[in-house]
């Protein structure tokens, strides 16, 4: 593997990531849904775990995390297609938010997706993209409730393909 996964992080953070108890992929096969259509016919959705939200929506709860550092807000938000930069807010304590506040496309690349749709390279875009706050030390609620709800919401919007990116 040529990429250094720990290149930009402190020793403490890197060490914690190396010992984290990850899913045992040998116990359960990796799920697989083949792409059912040509890309030019697929409706595409974006998901970011960067803590982005619409300015009129409820922010991810950073106050509680400050009180309970092993807790992270497990809910998700919807970002309307075509949202303007001024309507985007961020609530995530684990990366520098200033860049996304300047141009949210460095976290949720909606602009280039629109271009590819106009060029006919993808078949459509969902009415909303989805976001959550990716710091989840105890991801039980996220796994049991949030992720299945997000999946249902994407199916409701007719998504064929979901592109996910981290904070």
């Amino acid at each position: 593997m040529a990429i250094n996964s720990f290149k930009f992080m402190s020793k403490t953070l890197a060490e914690s990531l190396k010992v984290w108890p990850y899913v045992d992929t040998k116990a359960e096969p990796i799920p697989w849904t083949p792409l059912k259509k040509q890309l030019g016919e697929c409706r595409v959705a974006l998901i970011s775990s960067g803590g982005l939200y619409h300015r009129e929506d409820t922010p991810f709860d950073m106050d509680r995390e400050k009180q309970e550092p092993l807790w992270g807000d497990p809910t998700f938000r919807e970002i309307p297609r075509g949202i303007k930069q001024d309507d985007i807010r961020t609530a995530h304590l684990h990366y520098e938010n200033a860049h996304a506040r300047q141009d949210y496309n460095c976290m949720l690349p909606a602009a280039v997706l629109e271009e590819l749709f106009t060029a006919g390279e993808i078949g459509g875009i969902t009415d909303y993209h989805l976001t959550f706050m990716g710091y989840q030390p105890k991801p039980g609620v996220f796994m049991r409730e949030t992720a299945p709800r997000m999946a249902e919401r994407l199916i409701e919007m007719g998504a064929d393909l979901v592109l996910l990116s981290p904070g």
Partner: protein, 126 residues
């Protein structure tokens, strides 16, 4: 970032099981490989700017095109395609991605220890 990684994996697995095709962008293929996600594209970019710098439309588009190409080409679950793109200035990246105030769990040696104890002995699914 620690737990985020495991959540990312969980979310994708749940969506893929539900019948959605997924691909993720990752700056940590070391972790992505352990989690086992259906398809991934890896890029050595810092947190907070995984698609490129603010306003760097050209890089956002380039990564998106690679991602859509990877979706069509990957035929085996767990495949990670690595991009050869590199962040131009490592020192700037180190300075720029980390928040001005450290995350709550990193604010004292006691809190770091609390996290380490949890990683070793806690139940992440509680």
């Amino acid at each position: 970032m620690t737990p985020l990684q495991s959540v990312r994996g969980a979310g994708k697995r749940i969506m893929e099981k539900r019948g959605l095709s997924t691909i993720c962008l990752t700056q940590m293929p070391y972790v992505t490989e352990k989690i086992g996600v259906p398809r991934a594209l890896a890029v050595e970019f810092p947190f907070g700017m995984i698609w490129g710098r603010p306003g760097d439309h050209e890089t956002h588009l380039l990564i998106m095109k690679h991602m859509l190409q990877a979706v069509q080409e990957i035929i085996s679950p767990g495949t990670i395609v690595e991009l050869t793109l590199r962040w131009p200035d490592d020192l700037t990246a180190l300075r720029d991605w980390f928040p001005k105030e450290p995350p709550p769990w990193l604010t004292s040696p006691e809190k770091v220890q609390q996290m380490m104890d949890f990683i070793q002995h806690g139940n992440p699914l509680e």
